[in-house]
């Protein structure tokens, strides 16, 4: 590893650590300072006597000065202690552990399909720039971009679930079903995945089509494209080996930023389809004002986004030699 590379990596790593600390501090301020202390929030539900409040404050360490609370909070975060849920009366970390796999499953599938289909459609539009295919692809992408995620999900539920009875509309599996074979269970799971995944693909694909198309159009006007043509390379080789490869950097950036967006999509889709993941969890937590759960979910989402952005920085270094040697 060259010196430039190590330095780049070191700077990025330091930035990630500072950002993580900033997110944790932001979270602390938001939930421990802004709305009043957690006891008062909890006391809204029942009738707590002043003596009880004092005892609870001592129990939760809220009688300590704010700066001490802050360091205790950071220590708890590092050791994975995310507090107790108000509504589930279980450690928040345990609840999150039960929910996170479903969300990862849904989002991974949707992200892969959005990227593959989005980039392919963008390449198609750019390679036929100015044609009817191009105009149609761009217009469709803009239309999909304008769809509210939750409403798209509701419309799909209405058409394919309620009206046509083709697909299940809620949950990740048929409740209480006994399957004759593992295959039947798998088919059931896939059938439950279809509508939530299509919803995410529809609302998120537009930006990848547009970014791929515009980046590719940019690359295709550059001099080395003419050189490639002059060398007598076939149109297909020029497009995929020369143009698309060079047009991928903005797509990588967009993919990293997309994680922040798709988390928002997960909250809506999981709510609409009662998908048992992190998104529906934060929705329920907001409805019941379960602050420890909201706080921890937000933290997990933020840390995920920061981690993915770090990975995309590494990917950049690998793809673009200019970054490596800078």
């Amino acid at each position: 590893m060259s010196r430039g590379r190590t330095r780049y990596l070191g700077t990025k790593l330091a930035q990630v650590l500072i950002t993580l600390l900033a997110v944790a501090t932001f979270n602390f301020l938001l939930f421990h300072v802004l709305p009043g202390d957690p006891i008062r929030l909890q006391a809204r539900a029942g009738n707590l006597q002043p003596a009880d409040i004092a005892r609870l404050k001592e129990l939760y360490g809220l009688d300590q000065p704010l700066i001490v609370q802050y360091f205790v909070y950071l220590r708890d975060l590092v050791t994975g202690n995310l507090g107790m849920s108000f509504t589930y009366h279980q450690p928040v970390a345990d609840i999150l552990a039960q929910r996170i796999a479903s969300t990862i499953q849904l989002l991974t599938l949707a992200t892969v399909l959005v990227l593959v289909i989005g980039v392919a459609a963008g390449v198609l539009a750019a390679s036929r720039r100015g044609s009817r295919t191009d105009a149609g692809t761009v217009t469709t992408a803009l239309l999909f971009w304008s769809l509210p995620t939750f409403w798209t999900g509701l419309v799909l539920i209405f058409v394919f679930g309620v009206w046509l009875h083709w697909l299940p509309i809620s949950g990740a599996a048929t409740p209480g079903a006994h399957f004759r074979s593992p295959w039947d269970g798998f088919v059931d799971a896939v059938r439950h995945l279809i509508l939530p995944t299509i919803t995410l693909i529809l609302v998120d694909i537009g930006q990848f089509v547009l970014i791929t198309r515009s980046s590719l159009v940019d690359v295709m006007t550059e001099d080395f494209m003419l050189t490639a043509k002059a060398k007598g390379l076939s149109g297909r080789t020029i497009l995929w080996k020369h143009a698309v490869r060079n047009a991928m950097l903005p797509v990588i950036t967009a993919s990293a930023l997309y994680v922040a967006l798709v988390i928002g999509g997960a909250i809506q889709v999981e709510t609409v389809f009662s998908w048992p993941g992190m998104g529906s969890l934060i929705y329920d937590a907001v409805l019941r004002r379960d602050y420890p759960l909201i706080e921890a979910s937000f933290l997990i989402f933020a840390v995920t986004v920061i981690a993915v952005n770090f990975i995309s920085d590494l990917l950049y270094m690998w793809v673009d030699p200019r970054v490596r040697n800078a």
Binding site: V138, L143, T149, I294, V305
Partner: protein
Amino acid sequence: MTAATAVAPPELDRGRMAAARATLAVAWSDPIGRAGLVLLAFSVAVAIFGPIVFPFDPRAVGKTAADILRPPSGQHWLGTDELGRDVFRETVAGAQISLLVGLLATAISMILGTAVGLSAGYSRSWLGGLMMRITDFFLVLPTLPLIIVLAAVVGQSLGVIIVVIGLTSWASTARIVRSQVLTLRERVFVERIRALGATDWRIATVHILPNVMPLIFANTVLVIAGSILAEATLAFLGLGDPTHTSWGTMLHAAFANGATSRGAWWYLLPPGIGIVVVVLGFTLIGYTLDRILNPRLRNR
């Protein structure tokens, strides 16, 4: 501020009006932009005149259980909602709140984003670097969870929703403005003005800002689209202002009362189509302006 800036505003205003007219002409010259302008004009007309022609009374609930979730009829063009109210009039009333929240939230976002981007791009001190770090921090925070968390902690009035959406959407504007200012501040004309003794404040606001304006304008239009979607999503998740009718609160009520599983398409479709029409209008205009005005994209 100098005496010269005190005299400048009327002239600047005229300049801005002309610039706004020119920008509209740019959008109108492209078929996609023209479609966006038509959609937008329609939405604004509905928001302004709709409630006068078809007033909606939220207290005009149905008298019996038979009035609830009725399909469209001569009396109720788009049927009734879960309280027996007229869905058509409710949808018309929702246009105002959606546009209002979208425009005001965007105003906050634009002022903040432009101020941060301008000073971060123009300043050569560590302060500019710090501002960009803060911008990047807000850029990577997942926006929807952030908006949800803020709305859940702070409260659910229309004002809070506007401020929360505005405060969470300025980072991309700041980045765009900064990158433009970075190239502009090195231009010869800035050197000349500096040699003439202009203050940093004057150079930044009077000479650099107007050159960034077209790009800010294109970005503004796209931010409005995002803000309207954000309001609808927030309201759908039950974090809207319960005292105002918006398309988001309508869809929240439709979802919470099982309109989808009861087959009440007339309650599900109108508010959603309203959102799509308004957001699509702004998106088409913003896309067109960005394509034509963004110097990096001009050859597309």
